[in-house]
């Protein structure tokens, strides 16, 4: 769901029905090839590779040494007066008094802070872009409660002004998900918030795709007239879909093993089969404790893993289930009361889940929230501590960096400041847990992509020339 402050006080905008368009299927070159080995047949069992892969290339970068900062690594350490070297797009060294290699540019960050780039597991930027007009309503293929065949990447409008604002908030990676109208809403995609001509140019290379599923009120409200109209109807819907998926996967496994007549492709079942194979990670909009445990039951019935529950307002009630299975919970600090299943919020939710040892994630689902994730992590930390829940600063930072990286399956590439990881780095003007801190400079893959001080502030095509020059917006962070 998305919430808009302009649509009355705390009113929720209802799911907007989008007109469906027929999917065109075409034979790929791979399919036409001779499938005469197990390897080739296996490569054909999912989406044939190539056409839909990331075309992202990092922006040009030079080696840079950032000196004298307080470095919060999100890997257990907070280093005072320390240096960080980025070379070839990767973090090359972290430590005290690093030598400046010849020809390396230096940034003096004395009195400033450094963190990994922030990661949001739950965004609808691009699929529900600004301005919110009907022509931009791209997030819910609300023509059927089960649509595993749709992909968010095909809806993402790279000109959403929200991307540049997220970047200015120190966010370097976001997962864009379909909406929550459907039981199975389609595939999500992980992107960098860099203005581009196509969404494909924003895709995080080789990041696994997601399957968006939704529990509870939204599907039964949207489909009330045709069903499902109850929670039990919801559960019957997921189970039917996965019964078909198990069948589909078996047919394809049989063909991969033994050859013979190639089964027909089915876009939706192909997605679910990849979930069963563990190649696509399940991200499940699910507020209530009983719904979340039912989803765990479903995953056990069909043999897949849930990577993270989202909007998990009642995660604190079942934090033992989550910790035992290593299932993540993506949570707000304190959104509540917009619907029944969001009524039992406690603002210590993130702290309690984290304390229990389950993967705790702060997510936003918001074009405004995504700009202040550093502040909200600090608020969640302070609220937990005031209730006697011990939270370290590193742990709170991990809620918006390392743990979401894990949830998106990119924890080997990003999410912490460790040698060898991508140069996804933010220099903050102040302690990032302060409401007054600005992201001064943001690097993605070692390239400087945002610089508040120098006025390097990317702008989308949409906002280009849309106001007279005297009313230019977007650079206020640096102009003051």
């Amino acid at each position: 769901m998305t919430r808009r402050w302009t649509r009355g006080v705390a009113l929720v905008s209802a799911a907007i029905l989008a007109a469906g368009c027929a999917t065109t299927r075409s034979q790929t070159r791979e399919e036409a090839a001779t499938a005469d080995s197990v390897e080739i047949r296996r490569s054909l069992a999912g989406t044939p590779q190539g056409a839909w892969e990331s075309t992202y290339t990092p922006l040009p970068s030079r080696p840079v040494l950032i000196t004298g900062a307080t470095i919060m690594t999100a890997a257990g350490e907070e280093l005072e007066d320390a240096d960080l070297l980025i070379e070839d797009g990767k973090i090359a060294a972290i430590g005290h008094d690093l030598a400046t290699p010849a020809g390396v540019e230096t940034i003096d960050a004395t009195g400033r802070w450094i963190t990994p780039g922030i990661i949001d597991t739950h965004s609808h930027l691009g699929v529900y872009p600004d301005p919110e007009v009907a022509a931009h309503s791209e997030g819910n293929e609300a023509t059927d409660p089960t649509t595993p065949e749709v992909w968010a990447i095909h809806s993402v409008w790279p000109n959403d002004p929200g991307f540049t604002r997220a970047l200015a908030g120190g966010v370097t990676t976001l997962q864009i998900l379909p909406g929550s109208a459907n039981l199975i809403g389609g595939r999500g995609v992980t992107v960098h918030p860099i203005p581009s001509r196509t969404a494909q140019e924003m895709m995080f290379p080789d990041a696994p795709m997601a399957l968006k599923m939704a529990c509870g009120e939204n599907p039964k409200r949207v489909y009330h007239d045709r069903g499902p109209s109850t929670r039990m109807g919801n559960w019957a819907g997921y189970r039917k879909a996965f019964i078909d998926a198990v069948d589909y996967r078996e047919k394809w496994d049989e063909w991969i093993e033994n050859g013979g007549e190639k089964p027909d492709r089915d876009l939706g079942l192909e997605t679910l089969a990849q979930v069963l194979r563990g190649e696509i990670l399940v991200h499940n909009h699910c507020y209530r404790s009983d719904d979340m445990v039912n989803m765990i039951n479903l995953s056990e019935e069909f043999g897949f893993d849930v990577r993270s529950f989202h909007h998990a307002v009642e995660a604190y009630k079942i934090r033992d289930y989550l910790a035992e299975r290593g299932i993540g919970a993506s949570m707000w600090v304190d959104w509540w009361g917009f619907k029944m299943e969001a009524y039992d919020m406690v603002p210590q939710n993130i702290g309690l889940v984290s304390e229990a040892g389950a993967p705790a994630i702060l997510h936003t689902d918001s074009d405004i929230g995504v700009q202040i994730m550093n502040q909200d992590a600090a608020r969640a930390m302070a609220l937990a501590r005031a209730a006697g829940i011990e939270v370290t600063r590193d742990e709170a930072l991990r809620w918006i960096t390392a743990v979401p990286a894990w949830a998106l399956g990119i924890e080997d590439e990003t999410g912490t400041l460790e040698v060898g990881k991508n140069g996804d780095v933010v220099i903050w003007s102040d302690d990032p847990f302060s409401v007054y801190a600005h992201a001064d400079q943001v690097f993605i893959d070692g390239a400087l992509v945002y610089d508040r001080i120098a006025g390097l502030v990317p702008r989308t095509d949409f906002e280009t020339g849309i106001l007279p020059p005297g009313f230019r917006v977007g650079t206020e962070g640096g102009s003051r």
């Binding site: 302009t6 009355g8 006080v9 406690v346 309690l352 608020r379 302060s434 409401v435 007054y436």
Partner: protein, 434 residues
């Protein structure tokens, strides 16, 4: 501030309407909050200051206040003391769960009926709403709660977040008339900006006509009116300038259009929303029109907000416009703290940000005689903070409303206690019992 240019006593005639204090709980305890950094808002900060509270009112504020023997002392050394926070746009008490229709009582305008001026949602106020104690524990003591939607939605009331009946809670009934001059209102009023302007003029024109021909109207010797007799009556204080018209408008040109209509009818406008207000800051300052805004609204969420920017509050303040801050979120009304903090991040002076969540709303709604600052004679709505109230890591440690220390109780707190441990056979049987 620009407010000082207003004729003195402009709100004096309204004093009779301010009924809240009369209903203050008799059990209010005398208190002395001592040793903190006191921000009275009405004057400079006082280090090591004392706020003395007697009979539910502030009786003294200063560095050298003598605390009478026997008065309970609250040690605020190393802490920050401010007036209670005042959210200028809220539906608190009028909603429990947004999507549960039966719990929503803040909107009477709907469909083709875009004028509900006579609607006073206070008749449906729920003093037991869970939103009240929750937000109160964050230092929110007062809100303007009122209608949403339509072109003229109805009347807002100022309430303190304390009391067991609407009568106990209310500070001022009919504190403002709420209007919408935004895309939603244009759609509902005929589908065009001009159509909404026409409708607004028609209603104000009819209200003026009705007041002059009331007798004829009652005898059935008058032309028909566009809206009901009750709406006409409700709009009279707006035409007289004694009740502000809070107009939710976003685009710069819509703000100017709304100001123009207000001027035609002698209406005293307040702009709410105001995403593009910075573009017309000089005009707003010249007309002495305050703006209620959401500092974090820096995205062009609608076409009427193309000029959204993070330093809207700072630019308006620089131009001399009085700024108040709301999160436009009743469940998370306390988020005005984070909103105001972000306004400071983007250039609004800290003192102006504190004023934006205390005295500025009080002045907008004409309750500055009793609320909004720490001054002798005002209601004792006071908060002791662990640090800078806008900081992410600061919390309200003591909240006082009308001289009463508010209990640290809320539904959220009780749920936390219930689930603090999962070791009991069922959490519902473990934890604290009440």
């Amino acid at each position: 501030m620009s407010r000082a240019t207003r004729p003195a006593g402009r709100f004096a005639a309204l004093a009779g309407l301010i009924v809240g204090l009369a209903a203050a709980p008799a059990a209010a305890q005398d208190l002395a909050i001592v040793g903190g950094t006191v921000h009275p808002v009405s004057g400079p900060a006082i280090e090591g200051g004392t706020v003395l509270i007697e009979g539910g009112r502030i009786s003294a504020v200063g560095a050298d206040v003598e605390v009478p023997v026997g008065v309970r002392r609250i040690d605020a050394a190393g802490k920050v003391v401010t007036p209670g926070l005042f959210d200028p746009v809220s539906t608190i008490g009028l909603v429990e769960v947004d999507l549960v229709r039966q719990t929503r009582d803040h909107s009477a305008a709907g469909g083709d009926d875009v004028v509900a001026a006579a609607f006073d949602p206070l008749d449906g106020l729920n003093p037991n709403s869970t939103l009240i104690p929750y937000n109160r524990t964050y230092g929110l003591t007062t809100v303007a709660t009122g209608p949403t939607g339509g072109l003229i939605g109805g009347q807002a009331a100022v309430i303190d977040l304390w009391g067991t009946t609407p009568e106990e809670m209310v500070v001022k009934r009919g504190a403002s008339m709420q209007a919408y001059f935004n895309e939603g209102a244009f759609r509902a009023s005929g589908g065009a900006r001009g159509a909404a302007a026409l409708k607004l003029r028609e209603v104000l024109e009819d209200a003026r006509f009705w007041s002059r021909r009331r007798g004829a109207f009652d005898r059935g010797e008058s032309r028909e009116l566009s809206e009901s007799r009750l709406d006409m009556a409700a709009l009279q204080p707006v035409l007289e300038g004694s009740m502000p018209l809070v107009i939710f408008a976003q685009r710069a040109s819509d703000i100017l259009a709304a100001l123009g209509i207000a001027a035609e009818y002698g209406v005293r406008p307040v702009i709410s929303g105001g995403t593009e207000a910075w573009m017309v800051a000089e005009r707003l300052a010249a007309a002495d029109v305050p703006v209620i805004l959401k500092p974090l609204a820096n995205s062009p969420e609608e076409f009427e907000q193309i000029g959204a920017r993070s330093d809207n509050a700072a630019l308006l303040h620089e131009a001399g416009v009085d700024v108040a801050v709301s999160a436009y979120d009743s469940h998370r009304a306390h988020a005005i703290l984070q909103e105001a903090g972000n306004a400071v991040r983007f250039g609004l002076p800290w003192e102006a940000a504190l004023r934006a969540v205390t005295l500025a709303p009080a002045e907008i709604y004409g309750v500055e005689e009793t609320l909004g600052s720490l001054e002798p004679g005002k209601a004792a709505n006071v908060v002791v903070w662990s640090g800078d109230p806008f900081e992410t890591t600061s919390l309200a440690e003591t909240v006082v409303i009308r001289g009463r220390v508010v209990p640290e109780w809320s539904r959220q707190r009780e749920l936390l206690e219930r689930y603090r441990s999962l070791e009991a056979p069922r959490p519902a049987y473990g934890g604290a019992s009440r």
